[in-house]
Amino acid sequence: MSIDLKTIKHISKLSRISVDEKKAEKLAGDLNSIFDFIEKLNELKTDNVEPLTSVAETTLKLRSDEVKSKNLRDQVIKNSPNENEDYFVVPKVIE
């Protein structure tokens, strides 16, 4: 299998990480060597194996649906790079 530049551009779009040509070429090389290594898994037959989604063999505990924390607005907004009173500010999204 080979990951080409077109695929790198597609993944970069999905990942919301901008890549220029030079970076795309480097990434293609790195990802190809990593996927060559990952392909080893195809040696194994796994048709009848159940996928493992969690190693913790417990069921989630139920709790009552109550609000426990008080108003955290100031804490939530404190680290925002750009805010205006109660809002996070982002570049304009509607014309």
Binding site: R16, S33, L44, T46, T53, A56, Q75
Partner: protein, 485 residues
């Protein structure tokens, strides 16, 4: 006492409890040594002034019933600490000041310990050498040209150099045990669900665990006893009966069955590692353990599985860094452009690489071939362990396939860097506890570690085996304080 920083955690606790030392004296000694040790680059953020004033406050009204009375401690910068910057080694969190405290660190402060600062680590804990940190690489106190391991490289360097009596790291694929092995220290990765993940910057949520890093097994047991609690804020935290690990620690391991997995004899394994392992087997026998040959047939598939599962989870966890709610933001022409520039400028190369791998294996058309496949192989790996634990109580392996390597030696070849974790990754995939203890030196005098892997929730047993073997091994670290100005 002039050699305060040479004392182990247990000695310091005893000396504070018997009032031979005050918290202020101890804190001052570690702060001064940390200040003289800047060259190691173990700290990202120092909080010495606050630490000294907290120590003074402790001494005014000392509560000597606590488990860590007035003990100063620096922690890996992956744990959120209220009002103290938490960066995860990344530019994207360079200015992040949490408004809440991680459960694990809160447990530590509740027992009387005092925060000295935040320790360097690979960016978002993604790395095996501490070289992916935005804040620069860390030096191994063993030798200035060596990496301290990773991702908890600041932590391992700081404990080995005695800048902090003990510390905590996190381990997703080996990030506690490998750096412990590279620096001649002890590191425990607890069972998944043992220590709360609340307030730890997430990397791969089904694998991440916090754990202690110490100079000896007893100290490690004491800290594990403090940090391991059930926590309703972490939905994967498990409510099981936890031991008082340090009190129940014993060197009596007579009759314990220890498995030696033949698949860990990997191609090209240096003879020094093979010899160390053989020596370890002899030590275990000397302690009265029974050695049994076992097979973990899917061992070779653990690393490829890990490099699907961990990046997949990371790509999902790291989607939150968008320049909107917190952290670094780059300006863009529109919202999407802002997202893309923020993430491109805010994340380093290794983190971007892993996000891309993860995004790819989860993307439409590839999910079954990669992610689902990996989850199935993960099941086979866990089954291997379940099978052997019908016959043995614990497993003994080397911690790493080599001793510490040189700074810059592996940065251009991601796969060779990933191979460092070949012996540690299966433990994370199966959610088991594992401890690395220093067990010898290679020809260059660099430390080498042995790993003891336990059954789930059986931390006490592997701590006991480590404690018994530690006495037989009688390891001495070769540290010369070359960095002290």
């Amino acid at each position: 006492m002039s050699d305060i920083t040479k004392q182990s955690l247990s000695e310091l606790v005893e000396n504070i409890k018997s009032k031979k030392l005050s918290s202020s004296e101890v804190t001052k000694a570690f702060v001064e040594r940390s200040e003289k040790s800047k060259e190691l680059n173990a700290y990202i953020t120092e909080d010495y002034t606050n630490a000294l004033s907290k120590a003074k406050k402790f001494d005014e009204k000392p509560n000597l019933d606590l488990k860590l009375p007035g003990i100063p401690m620096a922690v890996k910068d992956l744990f959120c600490t209220r009002d103290l910057r938490t960066t995860a080694g990344s530019k994207i969190l360079n200015n992040f000041v949490p408004t809440y405290e991680s459960t694990v660190t809160q447990n530590i402060w509740n027992e009387g310990a005092i925060l000295m600062g935040k320790l360097n680590c690979d960016e978002f804990a993604m790395g095996s050498s501490n070289e992916t940190s935005f804040f620069g690489n860390v030096q191994n106190p063993i030798d200035k040209n060596l990496v301290p391991g990773g991702s908890s490289g600041g932590s391992s360097s700081a404990v080995a150099a005695q800048l902090t009596p003990i510390t905590i790291g996190t381990d997703t694929g080996g990030s506690i045990r490998q750096p412990a092995s590279f620096t001649g220290t002890v590191g425990l990765k607890p069972t998944y669900g043992s220590c709360s993940r609340y307030g730890i910057v997430a990397f791969a949520s089904s694998l991440d665990q916090a754990g202690p890093m110490a100079q000896n097994v007893k100290d490690c047991a004491l800290l594990q006893e403090v940090i391991s609690t059930y926590d309703e804020k972490d939905s994967t935290s498990i409510d099981f009966k936890r031991n008082e690990y340090s009190k129940e620690l014993t060197k009596d391991i007579k009759g314990k069955k220890i498995g030696i997995p033949k698949e860990y004899r990997v191609d090209g394994m240096p003879k020094e590692i093979e010899d160390l392992w053989k020596k370890g087997i002899e030590y275990a026998k000397d302690c009265g353990a029974q050695i049994i040959d076992i097979s973990l047939p899917h061992t070779n598939y653990a690393l490829p599985t890990y490099y699907i599962v961990a990046p997949a989870e990371a790509s999902s966890n790291l989607a939150r860094y968008d320049g909107v709610k917190y952290g670094f933001r780059a300006e863009g022409e529109n919202l999407i452009d802002m997202y893309e520039k923020t993430r491109s400028e805010g994340f380093g190369a290794e983190v971007q690489r892993r996000i891309m791998i993860g995004t790819y294996v989860l993307s439409s058309g590839y999910y079954d071939a990669y992610y689902l496949k990996a989850q199935k192989v993960r099941k086979l790996i866990k089954n291997d362990f379940d099978d052997v634990y019908k016959k043995v109580d614990a497993i003994l392996t080397p911690s790493t396939p080599s001793s510490a390597f040189k700074i810059g030696e592996k940065t251009n070849d991601p796969v060779s860097m990933y191979l460092n974790d070949i012996f540690t990754v299966p433990v994370n995939l199966a959610g088991l506890p594992g401890i690395s203890i220093p067990a010898g030196h290679d020809a260059k005098g660099y430390p080498l570690g042995l790993q003891i892997i336990g059954k789930a929730f059986d931390e006490q047993n592997i701590l006991n085996i480590a404690y018994a073997m530690e006495e037989k091994i009688n390891f001495k670290n070769n540290i010369t304080d070359w960095w002290i100005k």
